[in-house]
Subunit: 394 residues, 2 copies
């Protein structure tokens, strides 16, 4: 396996983003298992257990070596003053790795694009991870009303004053109002895009994006040049949900994508906050739908309610709001078996855990890295122990 | 003990309302124990275990025989075409008797006026009990906004079309809008007053009250001539909460009486429904406060949500929304002991229950009448048995 963070690892991750959309379950699992360069080899050979994936890759690469494309992409990023951040980098936003533990089903169909990003393109001067540590997402309808814009501005101004970075999706309406209010308050705002950071969408927000790149962060999982395809917004939303301490939804129409985002926010144990509105407004129907169907979503009417709801997260935004018990609940079966095998006191070797859990050592190793990311276990002198309390990331 | 429903019982109940405000815990308990005429005697002699009550009665009767006042009151009611309804009457609204089981504490102080009415004055042609069986309360701020009035009208029109009687408090604002929308839809509306039915308050709604008396019901626990004293509105609210299948709150300012009403609605196992509004509106602050602090309150934005929430109550509005389990939770200690003593199968005599519960027979008899009212037990051939299912009142 190549060294994580090496040039080879980095280039392979970039190349993989040209072969499959971010968050792909099988691609991510393969990278975890054999490393990015070997995973790339296997995808290019069409040698994965997933026939659909193999076919998709065949049609996508169309005879062009993705490593060539990756090189060109990386040169292009350099010219744009955009950097590529990979999990081995210090500034990697560790929170998104909890997507590794997410089990989501919608109408019986497991969503295929829920796993962590392989890499992220970044424009802007702040280190990505530390900025997102103390961040909140504020999102909502493109066709926002004056009421929604006013409420967003009110809430966001206070969050920025309290030194929370404000994350949104760069769209018209609520998103743009959230970015603008943060900028106006002198805060840091982060736009998470569903297209390349060189051509932020929508073009009508171009001057806003320039300001954000100058004073905040523009980020994307897609390489420069990527189009804002419709399905990419839904894939992108999981990063907004995962990277922040909580998400505030200000306005949403009926059956909007907001429901999906809020379900992910809650599944990840983040704080889901919803602003109500007039029952006569079509732009509040989605908000009320969520408040009616998800009793774990919190009704908020002002910034104090938001700060109160995320207050338990503490100064550095490290403690997840629902605590380890919640994360345990969302573990897949193998991870749960491995976690159960870890002794309540003291520590155990990987081999001991494999024997106790009835799993092979390779599986145990993969699951241990997930459990470590989720803050449930820690390594002590080469052995594995339960993590006593959640500490701030270094 | 005099026969319930006799002239003597009726006159004594009326006289008692001139000595103590409705819902008084000790007065009600005394009436349950010894009957209304004997209770009246003891109050007039200052012979109750409650020194505060004795002193209050002394200062209130001021040398005038309350029985004389009662006679005058009853003649006055007759002239007004108002009738006095007592628990022995067929049209007694049985739901209010569940106030007998209500244990309420606010900031450590037990509220003294939470018990069922002793009698109710009624103006209007409909039988009181059957009308309230299928009724919903719609209440809210006097200083309602156009938004609140519009939303009330929208919701209430549909409820009236679905043959629900709409109950409210006759006040300006949301209350008046609820009454008016019901009248406009050709439905039955019930105004529960905090003053005599001969001088409904506020006078500005006089023509509305005339219409309600002609086509619906005007009711009050206070005898004709009674003033709408400030504290009476809070006492009155418990009847609105108890007599209906559920309460919809449309607008409420911060720290309004609506919180108290909604707490009673929930404590009685009724459906508490709250309409959200713009976070910028002072008249929605109370609604949002309740939705934030009471997760058992339901956010509703339209009549379909209301009908869905009370749907489980069924065609005749008999089944309480939370079922017997909920009512068991709100039992006082003695009632709980008696209920536990009732065998799971078959039946037992009062004496057997007293022995099992470790209580005297008189206490058991009193508690049994409460448990029967709450639909938890039934009498079978002179013995006591658990009630298998809640059936419609005759």
């Amino acid at each position: 396996m190549s060294t994580p963070g090496s040039d080879e690892d980095r280039a392979a991750r970039v190349a993989l983003t040209t072969l499959a959309e971010p968050g792909h379950r099988e691609v991510w699992a393969l990278v975890e298992e054999v490393g990015a360069p070997a995973a790339l080899e296997r995808l290019m050979r069409g040698d994965t257990p997933d026939a659909t994936l193999n076919a998709a890759v065949r049609s996508r690469k169309a005879g062009i070596d993705p490593r060539r494309i990756a090189e060109a992409t990386m040169r292009r990023a350099e010219r744009l003053d955009a950097r590529i951040v990979v999990p081995a980098d210090d500034e990697w936003p560790y929170r998104v790795d909890e997507l590794a533990l997410l089990e989501l089903e919608s109408a019986g169909r497991i969503n295929r694009h829920v796993r962590p990003p392989l890499c992220v393109w970044v424009r802007g001067g702040w280190p990505l991870g530390p900025t997102l540590e103390r961040s909140l997402a504020v999102v909502g309808a493109r066709a926002a009303t004056g009421y929604g814009i006013e409420t967003t501005t009110e809430i966001v101004s206070r969050l920025a004053e309290e030194n929370w970075a404000v994350v949104s999706g760069g769209a018209f309406g609520i998103d743009a109002a959230a970015h603008r209010a943060t900028l106006a308050a002198g805060g840091i705002t982060v736009a998470v895009l569903a297209c390349g950071v060189d051509r932020p969408y929508p073009a009508g927000n171009a001057s806003l994006f320039d300001l954000i790149a100058d004073t905040g962060l523009l980020i994307s999982e897609w390489p420069p040049g990527s189009e804002p395809l419709r399905h990419r917004f839904l894939i992108r939303n999981r990063v907004i949900a995962a990277a922040t301490a909580g998400t505030v939804l200000v306005e949403a129409g009926a059956r909007s994508g907001a429901m999906q985002t809020m379900n992910r926010v809650l599944a990840l144990g983040r704080v889901a906050m919803v602003v109500p509105g007039p029952v006569t407004s079509a732009m509040s129907v989605g908000c009320h739908e969520i408040l009616r169907s998800r009793p774990d979503a919190t009704l908020v009417t002002n910034a104090s309610h938001v700060l109160e709801a995320v207050g338990r997260i503490g100064e550095y935004g490290v403690e997840p709001p629902r605590g380890p018990e919640h994360r345990r609940d969302s573990l897949d079966e193998e991870s749960a078996l491995v976690l159960e095998a870890v002794p309540a006191r003291g520590s155990a070797t990987t081999e001991q855990l494999a024997a106790r859990a009835g799993l092979d050592v390779r599986t145990v190793l993969r699951r241990l890295s997930l459990l470590e990311l989720a803050g449930l276990i820690e390594r002590r002198e080469g052995e594995i122990a339960l993590r006593r309390r959640t500490e701030a990331a270094p």
